[in-house]
């Protein structure tokens, strides 16, 4: 099999997949969980419990508020202690439902065994309803409500389903582990999506740095109709939605449009596994796999209950916090630093990257050499140094021509810059200023 890749730009980075061979283990249960009502793009879910209510694992806590929203479930059994606003780790206040844990009692109807269930219900509408009810959102990081992606609007069609198993962020290994340990479940999950979309053409795209996952999925996929495995080159950002569509199908998402405009639907591997659990095992989304990695002695992959405070994850792994300089939610390329350790793991937390003090400083910025390395690196074909010039000189009207709104925030430009100019920051400012300008007009 020849490895595919996208056409423009991209960078080679050291992937540091330290925990690639560490089995997923279940993390101990915390005494308190903080479950945010908004773990997705769209409207916050409406809270349907009150303080003092007894809940079990899998009890619905908050209901989707419209289509652009998602249900939120309890991840532990116990009592609703508080409904409060806490720092979400990035400095914003966020409404959370605080639950004091007592024991570990599950709602009825969930199948928690390892038995594989291969037969899929033959009812599109019902399948979509189950996924909607289970509160599934894109678990790769964006948190886009999954039912919307699979509910194809009038006049559009999907001919290819791409299951994203690239995981191009350094350090993170959740998708890689899931593909090795839950290979068949992922393939059945893919077939569920095939059925909903009414197609027989799914491609599971995997980075060539995960040969075990490729071999395993390839072997199992042969037994099923409509599921293929494709190896992709280990270039960042191969796992970007637009890049992956281009790598697999050769198509390009037109500027300002959605993947569906290329007749493609893209789903992350972890999302597909959650779909399998929801549909075949009646388990709503209340836990996920999280990689704990970085400059630590024992990088690992945990199955974590959603709402678990990050401080608890770090404490359970005996991380010496006094030497830690930076904690990142996600990977080091696109992840966000965390200021409050009480911030919880959410549906979209794929990993926690811990950096020691000495690795936590930004390098000093020097003069731009006009070397063009950022131009070569940009996977969208933009010219980050020109965007920087426009932003620095307040020439915001030029930003439209520079297509700053097409920037996918991958950070390749900042990474490669020999002068260590924070080019991505300028792109973010540019996006903001341009949208402000366009709103005014």
């Amino acid at each position: 099999m020849k490895a595919k890749t996208f056409a423009i730009g991209g960078i080679h980075i050291n992937k540091h997949k330290l925990s690639a061979n560490t089995k997923i283990t279940e993390l101990a249960l915390p005494d308190v969980v903080y479950i945010p009502v908004k773990q997705h793009i769209g409207a916050p879910a409406k809270i349907i419990v009150k303080i003092g209510d007894k809940v079990k694992v899998g009890t619905l806590l908050a209901e989707a508020d419209g289509v652009f929203s998602a249900n939120v479930f309890s991840s532990v059994s116990g009592e609703v202690a508080k409904i409060e606003e806490i720092n979400n780790g990035q400095g914003y206040l966020e409404t959370v439902i605080t639950i004091k844990r007592e024991g570990d009692v599950f709602e009825e109807g969930m199948d928690l065994t390892d038995n594989l269930i291969t037969d899929i219900l033959d009812d599109k509408e019902e399948l979509l309803r189950i996924i909607t009810r289970a509160g599934i959102v894109g678990m790769g990081g964006a948190g886009f409500p999954t039912p919307i992606k699979n509910n194809i609007p009038e006049g559009k069609k999907v001919d290819t389903l791409i299951v994203n198993g690239i995981e191009c962020e350094p350090y993170l290994t959740t998708d890689g582990r899931l593909m090795i340990e839950k290979a068949e479940q992922i393939i059945i999950g893919t077939r569920i999506l095939n059925k909903i979309l009414g197609i027989q053409n799914a491609v599971i795209a995997i980075d060539e740095n995960k040969p075990r996952a490729i071999a395993r999925l390839h072997r199992i996929a042969k037994r099923y109709v409509g599921v293929n495995v494709q190896k992709c080159k280990s270039i960042y950002p191969q796992g970007g939605e637009k890049q992956l569509i281009n790598a697999i199908t050769g198509r390009e998402v037109p500027s300002g449009k959605l993947p569906i405009d290329t007749n493609c639907a893209v789903q992350n591997v972890a999302t597909v596994y959650a779909i399998y659990e929801a549909v075949q095992k009646h388990i709503p989304l209340f836990r996920r796999v999280v990689t704990l990695s970085g400059n630590i002695s024992h990088p690992c992959n945990y199955l974590v209950r959603i709402g678990t405070p990050i401080s608890f994850v770090l404490k359970e792994s005996n991380i010496p916090l006094e030497k830690v300089g930076k904690i990142i939610s996600g990977g080091p390329m696109m992840g966000r630093t965390i200021s409050s350790l009480e911030a919880p793991i959410t549906k979209t937390t794929s990993g926690i990257t811990v950096f020691l003090e000495e690795n936590s400083y930004k390098p000093e910025t020097t003069s731009c050499l006009r070397c063009g390395k950022c131009v070569d690196a940009c996977p969208m074909g933009l010219m980050p140094l020109n965007i920087r010039d426009a932003v620095e000189h307040n020439e915001f009207q030029n930003l439209k021509q520079l297509h700053v709104q097409d920037c996918i925030l991958c950070g390749s430009c900042s990474y490669v810059c020999p002068a260590k100019i924070p080019l991505l920051d300028y792109c973010k400012i540019g996006k903001y200023e341009l949208s402000k300008l366009q709103k005014k007009a």
């Binding site: 390009e252 500027s255 300089g325 966000r336 020097t366 074909g381 097409d406 950070g411 900042s414």
Partner: protein, 320 residues
Amino acid sequence: MFKMSTSPHINSKQTTQTIMRDVIVALSPAIFAALCFFGINALIVLVTSVSSCVFFEYFLSRRLGLKNNTFDLSAIVTGVLLALNLPATMPIWMTILGAFMAIGVAKMAFGGIGKNIFNPALVGRVFLFISFPVQMTTWVKPHVLEFFNLDAATAATPLASLKHLTVAEQFNTDYLSLFLGNIGGSMGETSALALLIGFIWMLKRKIITWHIPVCYVGSFAVCIFISALLTGSARFDVLAHILSGGLLLGAIFMATDYTTSPMTKKGKIIFAVGCGVITYIIRVFGSYPEGVSFAILIMNAFVPLIDRYFIQYIYGTGRK
């Protein structure tokens, strides 16, 4: 309290300083060749040029209130390149003047590293070439490995011989000498072998891409080849033209200067072909035997224009 910052949280190890260090490493075979062939004279020019470039960089950045970038090693690169573009017998004061033109006028007056329009080392060289034509075209015979041989017997450069060749004559320098560098010429331009080793090093370290050197030499070779076909004259000896004069030094080290070359691949190719064609025109039709410096400087002036009109294809905008 932990550190908060925007993504990405990791950066490549390549900095301006490591790039310049790699360029100096890439230049070291050429420096070695210059010392082998031209002995202590070469060393004097080299030390003068480098030290005065570093001095002007440091002094002027302080005087002009610019950020002090002396330690990014770029002034050393300019100094080495200027020295390699001079004959080994260059008087010291002229070398210092050339260094001032390179760093002071071409670089610092424009605002320092990254802001200059013209390649500093080439500005220095061309200034000296026009001001002191006699000293700049007095080529000594190389003395292989006789370090203290100060005998300054002059030698004609192969390019000058080529230029004055009549149709009936044959070109009679052996290619091996041209390749190794045992010929008259500027200190650093004579040994094609040393320059090619530097080229491979820079490609391997991802300092430059192949586009400019290959397209420059390629387009120049095609022009010479067509002339040879049309005239049948021994003047148009493709291999001799490539191996002699400043073509390889210019194509590998001068035309690829980041600041004064285009950013996109398309732009780089157009820039390099322009350099190749202008070099051909000057070498064949002009009054000078050599045209590399002028060709690169002329194309330097077009870089802002090239950068403006030959931009990259942007994803999702529809390929035409």
